[in-house]
Amino acid sequence: MRTLITATVSGILFGAGLALSGMMNPAKVIGFLDLFGDWDPSLAFVMAGAMIVAMIGYRIGRHRSQPAFDSTFHLPTRTAIDRPLILGAVLFGLGWGIAGLCPGPAIAALVTGSTDILIFTAAMILGIVGFRVIGPH
């Protein structure tokens, strides 16, 4: 139960952060990515704010042998700079640039009721499920 409550609280903070920062709006994300347009540096401030606070969290974690409600930390273990990492990042970057949406904001922006967001998010989930079916394992 404590696991599910912790996950819910973390999710709420994440969703509220996305809504407050304006990152739910694809036009604002594109405003950052379009360096040669009417440039909007907001996204860099979101990343900086998030990284500083997350870094403090990870620092605190270094002095703990385990998280509060689990027996072990589950950090990614892979370190190789390999083809899937690069190719995946390239495909993601293309999609992100075209639509101005990445996974967190796409899910959060479903609350607007926008059909465009729904179509993007459905396709994104199809891509995620598709990877399970036809992707390398």
Partner: protein
């Protein structure tokens, strides 16, 4: 730079960072949305916390979005076929590359992962080039 909103951007970012810290110190997990979503569609014992996180995310966004007297604009820039192509690319690409803006970008960089640094540099560079091509070479949108 008339659209620049530094205060809400920093504050919203701090909330996202706090979310990552809570998930890590509480459950030992990385707050990567594509990874959490991917695990949600896989069979396994850990779907419960993932589902709660995603529902919380939607709830948190809804509370703030609908709490505004005038909900902020959410404007998409491209037509449905392009939204579908972009969605497929984002879904497949983030799984192939093991992360997105949150998992590699926020969490990976915050914990000093070189792999995440390379991934983040790559998807930012490709997104910048893509927007440049669309806006200033092909002349679409904006």
């Amino acid at each position: 730079m008339e659209n620049f909103t530094p205060v809400t951007a920093l504050a919203g970012g701090a909330l996202i960072g706090l979310s990552a810290a809570v998930l890590y110190l509480g459950l030992g997990r990385v707050a990567g949305i594509s990874g959490i979503l991917g695990g949600l569609f896989a069979k396994g014992p850990e779907r419960g916390f993932r589902l709660c996180f995603i529902l919380g995310l939607i709830g948190g966004a809804a509370a703030l979005y609908w709490g505004y007297q005038q909900p902020p604009a959410v404007v998409t820039q491209v037509s449905w076929p392009w939204l579908i192509i972009a969605g497929l690319l984002v879904g497949y690409g983030t799984r192939l590359g093991s992360g997105c803006t949150s998992g590699h970008g926020v969490c990976g960089l915050a914990r000093g992962s070189f792999r995440s640094l390379i991934a983040t540099g790559t998807f930012f560079a490709i997104a910048l080039i893509t927007v440049y091509m669309m806006r200033h070479v092909l002349g679409w949108g904006g």
